[in-house]
């Protein structure tokens, strides 16, 4: 019996070949419509010439099994009751209060925090707090060294024992192409630039903080993306929150995906434009919003909108799904909207040349009006960039908040980006970049396939290096993180509020630095822990594929 759990609207979707006979339709397959569960059937992957998708698009979000949903709610209910009990005990001083309190002199001020706001933090998050903020003391490469911490008062405070847990397999850092290294050409080049330029800049881009290195970087980024010009900023989060307000203002409309990152939401809010949210990756919902917006105009005054901006991400890091870019671009062209693509996780990680989701779908980068991304994930540095037409970049150079008020990028960081980008492009004369991109793609496919075969529920697209494994129950969040660390594997677990309340998950980030041995070790341990914690919820057991290379005419059968 499979019943849709009330708070999840995800369903099993297998993209079929879009209608090949339709120049009139924009290629949306009626079977892809909304939330009705599609019965799984045989899927044939055949390349489409002339269709919107040049390659198969396989995305699956299996439904939460009913029993698991009920047990999860029961779990949260029990925790909430105990939370109220503990709060009561603490209020009447029966139990010791561990957390910091207000100063004596300020006791009659209005309280800084509402007790209710922090209920979740005090009573649920504190119990499993040791799974986050784990300090490391080495390069965040394929293996890392974690500093051991102990808590004698149930996670209210931590003490460092002084030991380090060495050689922990790192499945949590965003190190997609393996550039987080402390040896090699990137590090040497960065060291040289550090010696020459120093570390800080102490001024903004528009005043006297624009170094020749920044100009070099921007030219390189523009040629990497295939756009006319680009501009680089010191922080990826700030790139979104400071540039969206520069592009849109009151009287414009922003159509934002449901699961967009906090930086996109903050940027949209700060701009003052009207925000409407469409269902995650759902093109019917987006089309309906576009139609309604143009036909009805602004609310109440009915004036036409000044501009419409669609905000999407390349890879959504909590779901592992890839945006349906061909359809979004077709919609954008039909309705004359502008597209802002945030490739924080997909730049370097997708596509045969590592140029991101545009490369992955084989589309033209000029179709995307604003291509934004960060250097933190695939380039092993920090910062963000925006690429697009020259007019756009000229405008941002004069009107971006970051160019006027924020310090520019630090020179060694800039050099790291330049070296790693040249490596990916193959400009440094080696094939290292290409190999890394291919290794990542292979790792992704292998890891996802093995996990699905074991029987876990894995969300997301088959090609996305972000692999969410569903845990659901609150107790299993803590148990999974701790058991994996005992077995020397560092994983990231996420719960509410980053995800819906019953859909907590463990998220693996694959890397080109992971060798097959590392992946096999990790898979073995995940298998063990999965059996121990009873995490293998999947009803759709995949028939194991024969080990042959994946080509476009492979048939894949799924059985119930």
């Amino acid at each position: 019996m499979r019943v849709k759990s009330p708070s999840t609207h995800v369903r099993l979707e297998i993209a079929l070949d879009p209608d090949p006979a339709g120049p009139t339709s924009i290629g949306l397959d009626p079977d892809l419509a909304g939330p009705t569960p599609v019965k799984p059937r045989r899927v044939h992957h055949v390349t489409q010439n002339g269709g919107l998708y040049k390659r198969p698009f396989n995305e699956a979000f299996e439904e939460t099994p009913m029993l698991v949903a009920v047990l999860t709610y029961v779990g949260y209910g029990v925790l909430t009751l105990f939370g109220y009990l503990r709060d009561f005990l603490r209020y009447w001083r029966i139990e010791k209060c561990h957390y910091a309190t207000e100063r004596e002199e300020q006791k009659d001020f209005v309280p800084l925090y509402q007790d209710f706001e922090n209920f979740y933090t005090r009573n649920l998050y504190m119990r499993i707090r040791d799974n986050w903020n784990r300090p490391i003391c080495s390069v965040p490469g394929a293996r890392m060294d974690i500093m051991e911490r102990q808590s004698h008062d149930y996670n209210w405070s931590f003490r460092y024992t002084g030991n380090t847990i060495k050689g922990v397999i790192n499945m949590g850092s965003y190190n997609y192409l393996g550039f987080a290294r402390n040896t090699g050409s990137c590090q040497e080049a960065a060291a040289k630039v550090l010696e020459e330029y120093g570390v800080g800049v102490c001024s903004t881009r528009q005043e006297i903080g624009n170094l020749d290195k920044h100009e070099e970087l921007e030219k390189l980024v523009a040629s990497f993306l295939g756009v006319e010009a680009a501009m680089a900023y010191g922080m990826g989060f700030a790139t979104n929150s400071m540039n969206i307000p520069a592009l849109v203002s009151k009287g414009c409309l922003i159509l934002s995906d449901e699961l967009n990152h906090a930086s996109l939401v903050l940027g949209a809010r700060l701009s003052g434009a009207t925000i409407r949210v469409f269902k995650h990756n759902n093109m019917q919902s987006l089309e309906k919003l576009l139609k309604d917006a143009i036909v009805c105009g602004q609310p109440r005054t009915r004036r036409p909108w000044k501009k419409i901006l669609i905000l999407v991400e390349g890879i959504y890091s909590m779901e592992g799904s890839i945006v349906r870019l061909p359809e979004v671009i077709a919609l954008k062209k039909k309705y004359k909207a502008y597209l802002y693509l945030d490739e924080a996780h997909s730049i370097g990680a997708l596509g045969p040349a590592g140029r991101g989701v545009v490369d992955y779908f084989g589309l033209d980068p000029e179709d995307v009006d604003v291509m934004m991304g960060t250097f933190t994930k695939s380039f092993g540095a920090s910062g963000g960039y925006i690429g697009g037409k020259k007019e756009l970049i000229d405008y941002l150079r004069t009107h971006s908040h970051s160019a006027v008020y924020a310090t520019s990028l630090s020179p060694p960081v800039v050099q790291q980006i330049i070296t790693s980008m040249k490596c990916i492009m193959g400009k440094d004369g080696t094939t290292l970049g290409k190999e890394c991109v291919q290794q990542l793609a292979e790792n992704t496919r292998y890891f996802r396939r093995r996990l699905k075969e074991m029987g876990f529920i894995i969300y997301g697209n088959e090609d996305s290096p972000v692999v969410p494994l569903m845990l659901y129950m609150p107790a299993k969040i803590g148990a999974f993180g701790r058991e994996m660390l005992k077995r020397n594997i560092g994983v990231v677990v996420v719960g509410f509020p980053a995800t819906p309340i019953i859909e907590s998950r463990a998220r693996f980030c694959l890397s080109a630095a992971h060798t097959k041995e590392i992946l096999d070790t990790a898979l073995k341990e995940i298998d063990e822990v999965g059996d121990l914690l009873q995490l293998k919820y999947s009803r759709h057991r995949l028939v194991p594929l024969l080990d042959r290379p994946f080509d476009e005419t492979t048939y894949e059968e799924t059985e119930d």
Binding site: L112, N133, A190, V199, G209, I294, K306, Y405, S410
Partner: protein, 454 residues
């Protein structure tokens, strides 16, 4: 039953039947449009271009290109000049010890941290730096951000929500304005450094509170000020502020980007300068991009206040952590600050000297206190249009650069600032500038101003 009773009931039943079968009143007449009309509307609609075109001679379009490190002697657009424009107050930008510490960290950790603080992005260097900053400022805890602008812009919305009241100075910098905008609280501006105006606003608020005591019990009040104002170069009157704080029960958030590492006997900022107990200030926020010559920012204060940001500071939770080499550079810079506290007195001396030397230039006035290492030169008499003023100042800057003094105009976003300061030239004093260089700069500016403005 009386007849009129039956008749009334009959009429009522007929009315109900009529209402049930009448057409519902549609508010949206537009939904009666036919499909063809909708398609026509879609065809006809033309959006504005994504960005308006920028003319080639927009004053902010072409940046000055600095080749090489932006240190004391700087090469701008190919010309070698003495740097009077970077906020490198303590000259730590090309200090060999700082560079060596950063290099060691680079060799150990690589460049990036590849993750936010919550997901294996916390390095022992970050914990070290937070510890050292807390000890240096004599507070319980400190928290680090990876971007100076994001520090105060994430700290304010973490505490102040919709419905809370924030009293902020008119000359507050842009980062504070963005933080306030993100918080959606009620903003009340008071005149720059005018405690009487602030008291008036606080009194008005008190009267409001008495009308609605239930609401007043849950409305938080904050006063946001800067230690040393970036836009005017003046110091905030902190002792009076602390008095007002206890009188009207508002919390103080102090932004010390310019005063950290500058004011006070040991460089601890404006609290040390006035001798105020640091626990009286609820939150001190500063960026490490000025005196510490690194990148990033920090907030420090009591654990009760700071710990909250670890889960609700947006720039902390949702962003990658500070690269370890920058954190190591900041630690080394702190070491240097602690080892020679004499540099703060030297810096103060130099500030006083140049402040005096620049008095009495015809056409330009010095805006800022004698203690402030970053002050402004504004036109004494404006021409009437901001553009004209800016052009004149740009000409002065250009001629100074020709004579090897690197200066810059203070840049603002004209349409976004709440209270736009008048155009000015920013002059920055650092410990590395010698007395001759200071004299030379003053003389050059005098000469050029004479030539351009008279």
């Amino acid at each position: 039953a009386p007849a009129y009773h039956l008749i009334l009931e009959g009429i009522l039943i007929l009315w109900i039947i009529r209402l049930l079968f009448s057409k519902t009143y549609k508010l949206q007449e537009r939904s009666d449009l036919t499909v063809k009309e909708k398609e026509e509307l879609i065809e006809e609609w033309q959006p504005e271009p994504l960005v308006p075109p920028i003319s080639k001679d927009h004053p902010a379009l072409n940046y000055n290109i600095v080749s090489g490190p932006p240190s004391h002697s700087i090469v701008v657009n190919g010309k070698e000049c003495i740097n009077f424009a970077s906020f490198n107050f303590l000259g730590l930008l090309d200090n060999p010890r700082v560079k060596a510490a950063a290099l060691a960290s680079l060799k150990k950790y690589g460049v990036g941290t590849c993750g936010p603080r919550g997901f294996y992005g916390t390095f022992d260097v970050h914990l070290d730096l937070e510890d050292r900053l807390a000890k240096f400022m004599k507070t319980e805890e400190a928290i680090i951000y990876s971007y100076g602008f994001a520090t105060i812009a994430s700290a304010i919305p973490a505490y102040s929500k919709r419905g809370d009241i924030v009293f902020v100075d008119r000359a507050a910098c842009f980062a504070i304005q963005k933080g306030l905008q993100a918080s959606r609280s009620n903003i009340k501006l008071f005149e720059h450094n005018d405690m009487a105006d602030l008291e008036r606003l606080l009194k008005e608020q008190e009267i409001e509170d008495q009308k609605n005591p239930r609401k007043a019990r849950v409305t938080r009040r904050f006063i946001v000020v800067e230690g040393l104002y970036m836009n005017t170069g003046t110091i905030c009157p902190l002792p009076e502020l602390v008095q007002l704080k206890y009188k009207y029960k508002a919390r103080i958030f102090l932004e010390e980007s310019l005063s950290f590492g500058v004011l006070g006997e040991h460089g601890r900022g404006v609290t040390e300068h006035f001798g105020i107990n640091i626990d009286d200030i609820d939150l001190i926020s500063a960026n490490m991009e000025n005196a510490l010559a690194s990148i990033g920012g920090f907030c420090c204060g009591r654990s009760f206040v700071i710990d909250h940001q670890r889960l609700s500071g947006q720039g902390y939770c949702f962003s990658a952590s500070l690269p370890p080499l920058l954190a190591a550079a900041a630690i080394e810079a702190l070491n240097i600050m602690e080892e020679n506290p004499g540099i703060f007195a030297v810096l103060k001396e130099k500030c006083k000297r140049i402040h005096k030397a620049l008095q009495g230039i015809s056409g330009l006035k010095v805006v800022g206190e004698a203690l402030s290492p970053a002050f402004h030169l504004q036109l004494e008499a404006s021409t009437g249009s901001r553009e004209q003023d800016a052009k004149l100042l740009q000409e002065i800057v250009r001629q100074c650069m020709d004579r090897s003094i690197a200066l810059t105009q203070a840049r603002y976003l004209e349409r976004e600032e709440k209270c736009l300061p008048p155009p000015s030239i920013r002059v920055v004093v650092t410990v590395e500038q010698t007395e001759e260089e200071l004299e030379k700069a003053a003389a050059t500016i005098k000469e050029v101003a004479q030539a351009v403005l008279v």
